[in-house]
Symmetry: C2
Subunit: 105 residues, 2 copies
């Protein structure tokens, strides 16, 4: 779903990924990390889609909240496994959302 | 593919969408708009994925480049059709990319 974020400014982490063919444990870990992210201070929402390319955007109140999530112990273990097993290539971009607008029918 | 962007700072437009069931003309327009975006001054790259939710992130050198693309005549026609026909809901977020890093096996 589209994340219900507050008025800017807030922060976005754009995580763009190409997967390996190794799927073992990936789905379980992805669910677990999303659940864990939601419990972090400063978490605002998450959006995810995948075809060949996967894009996950998580939204945060501050750079400090992003840094704390990066340093979370369970998340660090997951990131290490991601590099070893699940990701062929990724790019992570940390952004300040300056403007936003929406549309709904 | 993952966009080959330069060192930050640069800008990202995160376009998160939920589609209607009306597909007529959508794929053609999406291809046309991506081709047109690539020709704009200040364009840096694009990434796209869709399941139920679609996420397209385009990257730009400056806010001015984003504004010029927004005001492009053909793009304005496409956006109007998007609201009328193809999108049930969307959120567009304009962001300054402050940091990024990548990984490749």
């Amino acid at each position: 779903m589209i994340a219900n974020t507050p008025k800017p400014p807030y922060y976005a982490v754009i995580f763009s990924t190409l997967r390996t063919s190794d799927n073992e444990g990936y789905d379980e870990m992805a669910v677990k990390m999303e659940e864990l992210a939601k419990k972090q201070d400063g978490y605002l929402g998450i959006e995810s889609a995948r075809n060949d390319l996967g894009i996950t955007v998580s939204y945060w109140e501050s750079l400090d909240a992003i840094l704390k999530w990066k340093n979370n112990a369970e998340h660090s273990v997951a990131r290490k496994k991601g590099k070893e097993l699940w990701y062929k290539k990724y790019q992570l971009r940390i952004c300040k959302v300056e403007h936003d607008y929406g549309f709904e029918k």
